[in-house]
């Protein structure tokens, strides 16, 4: 019999940690399970659970969303994108459309899709038009885009690729002077696709405990127990607490499709900056499907920096686990899921939205400001 949630909680309590420990997760799905199950209040006080860079929508560069909007508004194309990208805000002067949703309302042909297969169907049904697939996402989502291309996409289907790899953001944090966490829970479905081995560097190079977890409370608690035991024993390694689904080497076909169609390049993360080897670009053999090569660019250096985050929005620090969502001054005050200001409140995987919909309603920005002032 597998231990129950209650037994895992009991085991965590019996560990008697001699100091507070911060465990980071880098997956919106993990954060959702943790928040919905109320694990933060159930576990001992000296274990902190920190949401890190786990939301692909939140870190998609502002200029890419802007580019997609401008292509849809100015070119004779159909733009398709995963539904959760449609409400992501960009910074533009008042009266100009601020999101793909508003560009659609202004007359652009923008269609939400739920799979690459739908993009193929729309392109096949509209052979006289260019269909641009704005494809943002982490490995789990980018691999299906790669598979779509590897299988052979229609000639009129172009990809505006904004794919990102998860582990390099964690590597960047670990190489910084203040990583802000003592152990890592590695993402379950990213590891299903890419293989758990990608996360070995956390223990091997940085000496931090690491465990891959699934999405139920018991596998998350098992991963927490694992990393805390590793800390106590001072023997960090990569544990796999989701072995039913996460197999060594990941999914070989998914990795082959990625390797065949895309190469890894340095890439910008919204509000964070460039992270080495953290993005995907189409290989030359697939240039015929590269929207960036066949359509004009609307990139504008003047608006680039100013456009990173909406004024007052602290998403960049939320994404890096530097502050909790409710430490942003706007959290729950000006910014709620009904009237979101930053991408972290727009996206279903954004920590701000997950916290709000899980019932965290207190804004503690004043307390945290004074805490920072005291040191």
């Amino acid at each position: 019999m597998q231990p129950t949630d209650r037994e895992w909680l009991e085991a965590l309590r019996e560990l008697e940690l001699d100091r507070p420990v911060r465990i980071m997760n880098v997956c919106g799905g993990h954060e959702r399970s943790i928040s919905m199950a109320g694990l933060r209040t159930a576990i001992p006080d000296n274990i902190e659970l920190v949401p890190g860079p786990g939301c692909p929508v939140c870190i998609c560069p502002e200029e890419d969303v802007y580019e997609a909007m401008q292509l849809a508004l100015n070119e004779d194309i159909i733009l398709v994108a995963f539904g959760d990208m449609l409400r992501v805000p960009v910074n533009v002067p008042k009266r100009e459309p601020r999101s793909l949703e508003q560009a659609k309302a202004a007359g652009a042909d923008i269609r939400p899709i739920a799979s690459p297969g739908e993009a193929v169907r729309i392109a096949t049904a509209n052979p006289q038009k260019k269909v641009v697939f704005f494809a943002a996402g982490f490995e789990t989502t980018t691999a299906p885009v790669a598979a779509m291309l590897a299988e052979g996409a229609p000639d009129n289907l172009l990809v505006l690729l904004s794919g990102r790899l998860t582990w390099p953001a964690v590597a960047m944090l670990l190489e910084s002077e203040t990583p802000g966490f003592d152990a890592l829970i590695a993402p379950g479905h990213v590891s299903t696709v890419m293989g758990p081995e990608e996360w070995e560097f956390v223990a091997e190079r940085h000496g931090l405990p690491c465990a891959v977890a699934g999405f139920r409370a018991d596998t998350l608690l098992a991963a927490m127990y694992s990393v805390l035991r590793q800390l106590q024993e001072k023997k960090p390694f990569l544990d796999n607490c989701y072995p039913e689904v996460v197999r060594p080497g990941g999914n070989p076909e998914a990795r082959a499709a990625l390797e065949k169609t895309m190469r890894v390049v340095d890439a910008n993360w919204r509000g964070v900056g460039t992270i080495p080897d953290s993005g995907y670009e189409l290989r030359d053999a697939y240039a015929a499907h590269d929207a960036r090569k066949h359509l004009p660019s609307y990139a504008d250096d003047l608006r680039k920096r100013a456009g990173e985050m909406p004024p007052g929005c602290d998403c960049a620090r939320v994404v890096l686990g530097k502050i909790y969502p409710n430490e942003c001054r706007l959290y729950g005050v000006a910014c709620t899921p009904r009237k979101p200001i930053g991408p972290c409140m727009v996206s279903d995987e954004g920590a701000c939205r997950i916290w709000w919909s899980s019932g965290y309603r207190d804004n503690v920005s004043d307390e945290s400001q004074s805490r920072e002032a005291v040191g």
């Binding site: 399970s33 919905m36 995963f82 076909e253 709620t336 009904r338």
Partner: protein, 81 residues
């Protein structure tokens, strides 16, 4: 965007199959599981229309239990959206 859902295979035609979960049917690509033997009745984890892993019936049921809890919790908070 990274959360895959378990579905049951209903029909298979090359890389294309139709999968079902909770009464909803979807076209799913088996491209990434082409070296696995996938048969009608099997359960697979589906993400953006692609099956990324074969799972056991138990594993599928467990995951759906989690989704039901999450959805119920979200429904109970009326002003989410």
């Amino acid at each position: 965007m990274c959360l895959a859902v378990p579905m049951q295979v209903r029909t298979v035609d090359g890389f294309n199959c139709v999968c079902e979960a909770r009464g909803i049917e979807r076209e799913v690509s088996l491209f990434m599981l082409q070296n696995e033997n996938i048969e009608i009745g099997d359960h697979v984890l589906v993400h953006v229309g692609y099956a990324i892993q074969k799972v056991s019936e138990e594993q599928a049921a467990d995951t759906w239990q989690l989704f039901d809890e999450v959805l119920a919790a979200e429904d109970s908070i009326h002003d989410v959206r």
